[in-house]
């Protein structure tokens, strides 16, 4: 369990996935990738077995929970899929703004 602060960077313990938190919930949650707890970037990985039954993560895509309390951006892709407190995070539909610069 950890508090996910906006701007925080997290790495998968079992695959190459890395994410940055765009929006974090107010309370502590358990952020997982491939079914295993993620760790703060640079931290020691937690041991566990990779569950790669999902679609994995895609570079540059945003992932959200159903209640829209959390949003992370994938900065490095991997074969594990993301989850929070046991629920899978879903790929967020991109609604790009018109380019302004």
């Amino acid at each position: 369990m950890a508090l996910l602060k906006a701007g925080g960077r997290w790495s998968s313990s079992v695959c190459d996935t890395e994410v940055i938190v765009v929006k974090g919930p107010e309370n502590e949650v358990s952020l997982t990738c491939g079914g295993v707890e993620m760790v703060e970037a640079g931290g020691d990985p937690v041991s566990g077995e990779l569950d790669d039954s999902g679609d994995g993560t895609q570079l540059g895509k945003r992932y959200v929970d159903e209640e829209d309390t959390i949003e992370v951006l994938c900065t490095k892709p991997g074969s594990g899929s993301l989850g929070v407190d046991g629920n899978a995070l879903e790929l967020k539909d991109a609604k790009p703004l018109p380019a302004s610069d």
Partner: protein, 502 residues
């Protein structure tokens, strides 16, 4: 982080330059790494750039971030003495500049000069450091603002501000492979920095035009198949003139899907002419400040068209608005005491969001306790949430205790068919404190008398908005990024007043 992602996602795309000889994203990544090593080995505190825009810009920008050092683009048009003073303030530094610049300023041992060729070529041999500096609190950019009084202030933008801006406004790799953006704003303008970052993150090739010229701009759009471009109002007005001068044989700009404009008030006749000349181009009006990491509010293409086509004055006037705030930004209109005002009431524009810095080097942070940044821009929101910017609060004319925004007078004057440009300025007046002087530039070959112009304002606005004096000039003073130099104009017009107040 942004460059690392881009290199991982689409390293073989051209990031900057022509399709045949431009630099790929991967090359920018490698050169930035080598530059980072050079910057670190120089034991400096800042990485400066006193040069026109070139492929060295992204390398300096990303290399500095990689090394954990602030990037400080300086205005290369400043005179020798001004550059010396700024270099002193950021010393010790490594500074990108050509040999002509090195010869004209007094380089001290605290400034290590490096040329464009050095940065682009020689350092290819150096090895990359493997550790990206990732601290969001690191200063990414120091930008000296074109202050009107005293020493220029250095706005501080931290990594977290820029990353928030990009993540909040750009979708990764959202650009098609054929897309290309033309950048003609200089590196020391926040829009020049923002464009470098956002186009790279979107995967869009960038073509740089170092010193704006309407013909070169139009030629580049055609030869490089440019799909989008960012311009300041004076640039668009010159592009419109150039296209008009090509007459009915004009090839138009068929590849250009989008133009975004900002950095000053767009005269309504210019944007209306542009919409007519380029019916297939989408227009985006962006409003932002250095201190807010560029854009905070924008008027999109659909909103332009809707406003342009509408008979409803409430909708039509939105063409002169800056649209609605970005989803990641809040806007609030406040009175002098900081109390929030209702829609349609004019006050100071306050903004809040992760990308908003409001910080200047060596000064107390200007954000309120709740994180709001008072912009010093006047404006109001309409009932639908569209933001209208009336101008700097410092420029407001106070006549007989009434606050009058120069913008509304200028807008009316500009609608007159003979008027090419106009500015309203407050000049000292014994009876009213200030009175309104309007400086007007007429289209060549046209004539109009003072009374007709005064009446044109009187017919539209309240009578205290009518200019007391009208002066005809050949041109108004602008800086090179299209900002009207009101202070200079005011000094020139001060004789019109009676000098009783300051």
């Amino acid at each position: 982080m942004l460059l690392e992602m881009a290199a991982g996602g689409f390293g073989d795309r051209i990031a900057v330059g022509s399709l045949d000889d431009g630099l790929t994203v991967k090359q920018i990544f490698e050169k930035s790494g080598a530059a980072a090593k050079r910057f670190r080995d120089s034991n400096v505190e800042n990485v400066a750039m006193i040069d026109i825009t070139s492929p060295a810009l992204p390398i300096c920008l990303f290399g500095a971030s990689w090394a954990g050092l602030p990037f400080v683009p300086l205005n290369y048009r400043l005179n020798n003495q001004e550059i010396d003073v700024l270099l002193e303030r950021i010393s010790p530094s490594i500074a990108l500049m050509q040999t002509e610049t090195q010869e004209r300023i007094s380089l001290t041992s605290n400034t290590h000069a490096i040329t464009r060729d050095d940065l682009l070529g020689v350092i290819e041999m150096e090895e990359m450091p493997t550790d990206w500096n990732m601290d969001g609190e690191d200063t990414a950019i120091l930008l000296f603002t074109s202050g009107t009084t005293g020493e220029p202030k250095a706005a501080v933008l931290r990594q977290r501000h820029l990353v928030s801006y990009i993540l909040g406004s750009v979708e990764f790799m959202s650009a098609g492979e054929e897309e290309a953006a033309l950048i003609s704003v200089p590196p020391y303008h926040i829009a020049g920095i923002a464009a470098t970052l956002s186009n790279l993150y979107a995967g869009r090739r960038v073509v740089q035009l170092p010193e704006f010229d309407a013909k070169k701009w139009v030629d580049l759009v055609r030869s490089e198949s440019i799909t989008s471009a960012m311009v300041v109002p004076t640039m668009l007005s010159r592009v419109v003139d150039h296209l008009l001068s090509e007459g009915s044989d004009s090839a138009g700009l068929p590849t250009l899907r989008a133009i975004s404009y900002g950095g000053g008030k767009m005269p309504q006749p210019t944007i209306e002419a542009a919409l007519e000349l380029l019916p297939n181009t989408n227009f985006v009006n962006a409003y932002g400040l250095t201190e807010t990491s560029s854009t905070v509010s924008l008027l999109g293409p659909e909103e332009h068209r809707e406003a342009f086509a509408s008979d409803d004055e409430q909708v039509r006037r939105r063409i002169s608005s800056v649209g609605k705030p970005l989803p990641s930004i809040e806007v609030s209109i406040r009175d002098e005491n900081g109390s929030e005002l209702s829609p349609n009431e004019s006050g100071e524009i306050w903004v809040r969001g992760e990308q908003v810095s409001g910080e200047y080097k060596g000064m107390e942070i200007t954000l309120t306790e709740e994180g709001w940044f008072p912009t010093n821009d006047g404006g109001w929101l309409d009932g639908e949430g569209y933001l209208f910017v009336t101008g700097r609060i410092d420029d407001v004319i106070v006549k007989g205790g009434q606050n009058i925004s120069p913008g509304e007078i200028e807008e009316v004057l500009l609608r007159h068919p003979s008027v090419a440009d106009a500015a309203a300025i407050g000049v000292p007046d014994q009876q009213w404190g200030e009175k309104i002087a309007a400086a007007v530039v007429l289209h060549t070959g046209t004539e109009v008398d003072e009374k007709e112009l005064k009446d044109s304002v009187k017919n539209v606005l309240r009578s205290n908005r009518t200019p007391d004096e009208i002066v005809f000039l050949n041109e108004l003073p602008y800086n090179e990024t299209g900002k009207l130099l009101r202070r200079v104009l005011k000094e020139n017009l001060v004789d019109l007043g009676d000098g009783s107040t300051v």
